[in-house]
């Protein structure tokens, strides 16, 4: 792809993704509206979130048509964040238990 012609995809595709993002957002809103609780709630919220994020990155940001060298350079480093999230979840849980023990 040279920069002059660049990333060109049919407008119809963008409109379909736009519609899909609307539907997915409405679904996440309805999860809250109908008071879905506990594990089902988290599963649905995270699933809709990841689907929306995937569509935006793949289609709107053209990641689906980029070379793998760029795709991996951008998408792999954020996976390190899962380690940080895991560490901080453990840390937060520990802080919570400590507070229960000493401040209640």
């Amino acid at each position: 792809m040279n920069p002059v012609s660049g990333q060109q995809h049919p407008i119809g595709l963008y409109l379909k993704i736009w519609g899909l993002l609307f539907v997915l957002s409405t679904m996440s809103y309805l999860v809250d509206y109908f008071h879905v609780e506990s594990y089902l709630r988290w599963a649905l919220i995270v699933a809709f979130m990841l689907l929306k994020a995937g569509l935006i990155v793949a289609v709107f940001m053209h990641m689906a048509w980029e070379r793998l060298s760029l795709v991996y350079a951008i998408l792999v480093p954020p996976l390190c964040l899962l380690v940080l999230v895991g560490l901080m979840a453990a840390e937060g849980g520990h802080t919570f238990l400590t507070r229960l023990q000493f401040f209640h």
Binding site: M1, N2, P3, V4, S5, G6, Q7, Q8, H9, I11, Y14, L15, I17, W18, L21, F22, S25, S28, Y29, V31, D32, Y33, W42, I45, V46, F48, M49, K52, A53, I56, V57, V59, F60, M61, H62, E66, R67, S69, L70, A73, I74, P77, P78, L81, L84, V85, M88, A89, E91, G92, G93, T95, F96, R99, L100, F103, H104
Partner: protein, 233 residues
């Protein structure tokens, strides 16, 4: 400009290359291309990667204070409800903001399409629509902040509804995102203006529109995570 490197690298084998500083410079200036996209696009992607880490740290920090507090977390569904027609509709304002931002992403994607077809009038018009959606979003956020600060008494160090950390996480995360939206609006207006003036016609290279688009879609992407993790969790 083009992907095929036209400059032939000096055919020096590593063993023959100079040692010391000269060798270092020779090694690092070998005219290799890794990504095969323009410099501007690669740099925007790398900036967005760094920004991903910034927002992830905010959201991870928010998760940490939320799981570690023994005071109940205020229910965002009720905090951000709107009073419409005699009833409280939960999270209504946030839902509208979400749809506005998604729509702005749709118009931006179309703007990039028109720009690459050389239709600069429609491309600039769609960029202005995108920027207007962005302004609408920031306006609604200003309304949301005023309501929370003036009517609900939420402060970064406390609030009447529950855990004190609610305010600090809220102002930090949504504030930084709102700053990104505002900067994006300025960026879009600038590029749209230059596009209309014909600044990119001489080179026939309209990639700046796609690069601006990458930034804008990223702002939408971050909101997807904020919407799910802060407002719905």
């Amino acid at each position: 400009m083009n992907n095929t490197a036209t400059i032939a690298a000096t055919p020096l084998s590593p063993t023959l290359a100079a040692s010391g500083w000269r060798g270092l410079i020779a090694d690092w200036s070998s005219d290799r291309q890794a990504f095969h996209v323009s410099w501007g696009k690669a740099m925007m992607w790398i900036f967005l990667l760094s920004d991903t880490f910034v927002f992830s740290c905010f959201l991870t920090g928010y998760m940490t204070v939320r799981v570690s507090t023994t005071v109940p977390w205020p229910n965002p569904s009720e905090v951000f409800a709107l009073h419409v027609g005699g009833a409280d509709i939960p999270l209504l304002l946030i839902a509208i903001m979400t749809f506005v931002l998604i729509s702005s992403s749709g118009t931006m994607a179309m703007a990039v399409n028109f720009a690459y077809r050389g239709d600069r009038v429609n491309a600039a018009a769609l960029m202005l629509v995108t920027a207007t959606f962005g302004e609408l979003f920031v306006g609604m956020q200003a309304f949301e902040w005023s309501k929370l600060i003036l009517e609900e008494g939420v402060r970064p160090w406390g609030n009447p509804m529950g855990a004190a950390q609610f305010g600090s996480a809220f102002f930090m995360i949504t504030g930084f995102h709102g700053l990104h939206v505002s900067a994006g609006v300025v960026f879009l207006f600038t590029v749209a203006f230059k596009l209309m003036r014909g600044d990119y016609d001489k080179a026939g290279n309209y990639q700046i529109v796609e690069i601006a688009g990458l930034y804008w879609h990223f702002v939408d992407l971050v909101w997807v995570f904020i919407f799910a993790l802060f407002y719905l969790w």
